[in-house]
């Protein structure tokens, strides 16, 4: 089968985001961008499925501006066979992204969509579930283990208080949690090779999908700052302050 891996270009997770002075959003100009960490895990899982012989082809897809090509080159350097860029400069919500991905799925006919559980910029945790709903496919969200076997996927899912195991009939959508695997690094030779792998660009407008936003951003603000605390010298002083000052201990 073919595995489709949606990847998102986001502000690097090591960067402390700064809210724009006019409250319109978060500064992204001149900020280091990388592949969303959960997407790296989803891609790694797809590559492992190919290495185990469960998949024949891994296709990375990204939706966004021309610069999202870099993210796709990274995906191919990690091992994706080819890539598709759905090009648009519009701000997209998960619902719109899911609809564009649905169009790609209908064209590519993958047996599995492996994607991250959430993007670390909008922290939405919704695109995989919406895509599964649109396709009428089963979903295995927050996956910590995936076993593909005879037309189905046995997925261990991280839930409150433990792990739940579900069996999904393929095709399915799986969203990767942190513990699913440790993604590989792209080696220099593979980065060079990735430059020659096919990257197809499709204009989002050509897909005839309604991507108009449903949400209007009223404002973006800094969260309230915490007041600076004090350094105590001893356990005794700490316990004393927790009792008398903070009043959180009896």
């Amino acid at each position: 089968m073919k595995v489709l891996v949606p990847v998102k270009r986001v502000v690097d997770y090591n960067i402390k985001p700064r809210v724009a002075a006019d409250g319109s959003g978060v500064e992204t100009q001149g900020v280091k961008m990388s592949m969303n960490p959960f997407d790296e895990i989803a891609l790694e899982e797809a590559l492992r499925l190919r290495e185990k012989g469960h998949a024949q082809e891994v296709v990375a897809v990204s939706i966004g501006p021309q610069a999202a090509q870099d993210t796709l080159r990274t995906a191919m350097a990690m091992g994706a066979d080819r890539a598709i860029l759905i090009r648009t400069d519009a701000e997209l919500e998960p619902l719109a992204v899911a609809k564009l991905l649905q169009a790609v799925v209908e064209r590519e006919q993958p047996g599995l969509v492996s994607m991250g559980k959430q993007a670390i910029d909008d922290d939405m945790n919704a695109t995989g579930q919406i895509l599964a709903a649109k396709l009428g496919w089963p979903q295995g969200t927050f996956a910590s283990e995936v076993i593909v076997d005879n037309g189905s996927a046995i997925v261990s899912r991280e839930i409150d208080g433990g792990v739940e195991v579900v069996s999904l009939t393929l095709p399915a959508v799986i969203t990767a949690d942190l513990r699913l695997n440790e993604p590989r690094y792209a080696s220099l030779p593979n980065i060079m090779k990735a430059r020659k792998k096919p990257l197809e660009t499709i204009e989002a407008d050509s897909l005839d999908v309604d991507i108009a936003p449903r949400l209007k951003v009223v404002s973006v603000s800094e969260p309230p700052a915490r007041e600076a605390g004090v350094i105590v010298k001893s356990v005794e002083e700490l316990v004393n302050k927790l009792k008398t000052e903070a009043k959180v201990l009896p």
Partner: protein, 303 residues
Amino acid sequence: MTALVLIEIEQGQVRQASRSAIAAASHFGDVDVLLFGEGVDAASALSGVRKVLHVPAAPHLLAEPTAAFIAQHAEAYSHILSPASATGKNVLPRVAGLLDVQPLTDVIEIKGDDTFVRPIYAGNALVTVQSADRIKVLTIRSSNFDPVDATGGSAAVEVLDLPAEDEKSRFVRVELSNSDRPELEVARVIISGGKGVKDARNFETLLAPVADKLDAAIGASRAAVDAGFAPNEMQVGQTGKIVAPELYIAVGLSGALQHLAGMKDSRTIVAINIDPDAPIFKVADYGLVGDLFEVMPELAKAL
């Protein structure tokens, strides 16, 4: 306007996170709750609930049949909510997909029927958004809403048919980790260990005695979980549990962005760390620079 809240039962009781979601839903008018499986008495006794929609069977809340069922009944409601629990996060975006609306997850404040605040970028920014969708689908960050009372209500119960089994998805098993301690999301006090705790045994010998004295839940940083010191469900952070207890004691953890996203709304934060430059001290109300292997036994004794 009427809101529908998907609730969850644990050990015969309605989970506190579900009661917080009901409190959030009450901003919109009447509240009906949807219950799958057992616990109808507890659901009916909830304060501030108009009606319980009860589906007696189907205890596993698999996303496919649960979302299909909610979508079928959605047109009677202006808002559909759940806590941002593992179940809520799994099911509600799928409901939104079926209804062709954009869900809003992890809502921390309700400013009006269509205007909501949610954190983005690991809690480093708050965005206020206005939704144009006909039905609003929301998951609620429970630590930001005081739960409704578990008792005092007497809501009517309407029994509904089990949704047809979706054969594309099948429950296999669940493995819960047993703990006598309070749940992380509801604990008044949390004591969390990081990589500095060094191994799993030290969580028991150093953190547990303090937790016992304070009736605290024990949490962990992602680094501690990844290193195998603690199971995943103990993880506090952007990718784990979001908590806001009265007292949060961070032991041997540096305070990475992704961890802070999960605990920086705690009322009082205490940091115990040997590195005076650890970022955790920037958010801590009280910091103690010292070796946790000496400090923790002392703390257990002092309490």
